[in-house]
Symmetry: C2
Subunit: 233 residues, 2 copies
DNA sequence: CCAAAAGTGTTCGAATTACACCCATGA
DNA sequence: TCATGGGTGTAATTCGAACACTTTTGG
């Protein structure tokens, strides 16, 4: 006899909350799509889809994201599981939300547009279907929280970046001013950055030195029990 | 036509990771049951069960916990969603883990035993089915983390408790020694405790003053942006 | 009177905050 | 030469860590 046969079965979906930092505009954007099927066809939605029979949840999230936006190799983490009956009017669907933070590269902009997805700035989000707004809210709170204790910032910038760019990024995440000197002192004190000889000269005459994030140093830091902690109120 | 009809449907379960603090033994225990159906019948397991069609995930967790252990009105929070294909050999089951921290009251001990559940100390856990060990690990890490930033401790003690009891509790959570004077200083500095005139005289001749946790003061503290933060290594 | 647990302060170093001016350069 | 953005240091304060003795009282 088939096991568990007396229990109901439901659809399982994944929804991807992808935040992208736009280094030019110095703001954070959310990746959205127009839903291509009913119910709520044509409405704004997170990139989402159903889990296949032999697929882990993590893999489903990656596949769905690639299918809908063309983005590959994005490391997402599971955020929360949404399962209220009636959250999707089409059927009982339990959705596992995943989120990630990436840098918006120019190449991604094209890719995403070609696939029919859109980057929308956080302060101008359209209405989203179902409980997607709630998912985004939770993901944002999580983002602020994570940024405090993990070096998420570096993921959002190119491999080479200036300290001013990094600072602007943190200001975008926390939506507040941060003291330049204290920030530099603190970020350098972790010893996970390496100063390059090269300068970025587009935004100023003097130019600002590029730095790069050395992942191995960060790992060593964590192993030694020290914690990366940018205590930004 | 039925919407989403071409997608597969799966079982959704909830699993409850209930930590209980035993004030007499000064240790933390985990609530386990012996599984009553196949597969893995008779093996040690978290309290778990399947989600009914008209039930939210949160409600399912409460119902399942009550059904299996008799415990009512336990506030659980969602922890993580486990959905690897093959995690349950009986069928594809996506399980949402919930966890809570409670004080083990003598009355609960009877209730739990009558319902066939068991409190097992953390340092003597049996092997658990499927990925339940992994769930417990994650819940424990989350517990340590939460205890740092929220006054979870007070939930685990009777309404009246002594500072020594509270200290022992934190020592049990962090499994390390904590300086008595610094702990008292810190915990009192939050201003969320009220000293009572009454003393607990069972464990010492001199007796220790009872305190109680004033929830309204804690809420005020949080509103003012101050954070409850017991920075224990 | 003594054993056993409760209660209490101070000092030191580290970390965090606040804050203002000089530097380099291209236009 | 000047406007623009990059870069730097110090003093004051707060916070956390370490540490040892006195008090009370039932047996």
């Amino acid at each position: 006899m088939r096991l568990y046969s007396k229990y109901s079965r439901y659809l399982i979906a994944v929804d991807c909350i992808i935040f992208g930092y736009d280094i030019h505009e110095k703001n954070i954007k959310l990746l959205l799509i127009k839903r291509s099927f009913n119910p709520a066809k044509g409405k704004w939605s997170l990139a989402g889809g159903f889990v296949e029979p032999d697929e882990s949840l993590d893999n489903a999230a990656c596949r769905v994201l690639t299918d809908l936006t063309g983005l590959k190799n994005i490391y997402m983490k599971q955020l929360f599981c949404y399962g209220d009956p009636g959250r999707d009017p089409g059927a009982r669907v339990i959705s596992v939300a995943y989120s990630a933070l990436i840098k918006i590269k120019d190449i991604d902009k094209e890719l995403v547009t070609k696939n029919g997805a859109h980057w929308r700035p956080l302060n101008k989000l359209p209405d989203l279907i179902f409980d997607h707004q709630e998912m985004v809210g939770k993901a944002l709170r999580d983002l602020c929280f994570q940024a405090r204790i993990k070096p998420v910032g570096f993921e959002l910038l190119p491999a080479k970046f200036t300290l001013v760019q990094l600072l602007d990024l943190y200001r975008a995440v926390y939506r507040k001013d941060i003291d330049k000197r204290n920030f530099r002192k603190k970020i350098l004190s972790f010893g996970v950055l390496e100063k390059l000889d090269e300068k970025e000269k587009e935004t100023s005459k003097r130019g600002a030195y590029y730095y790069k994030f050395i992942k191995s140093r960060y790992k060593k830091l964590v192993e030694n029990g020290s914690s990366f902690n940018l205590d930004v109120g």
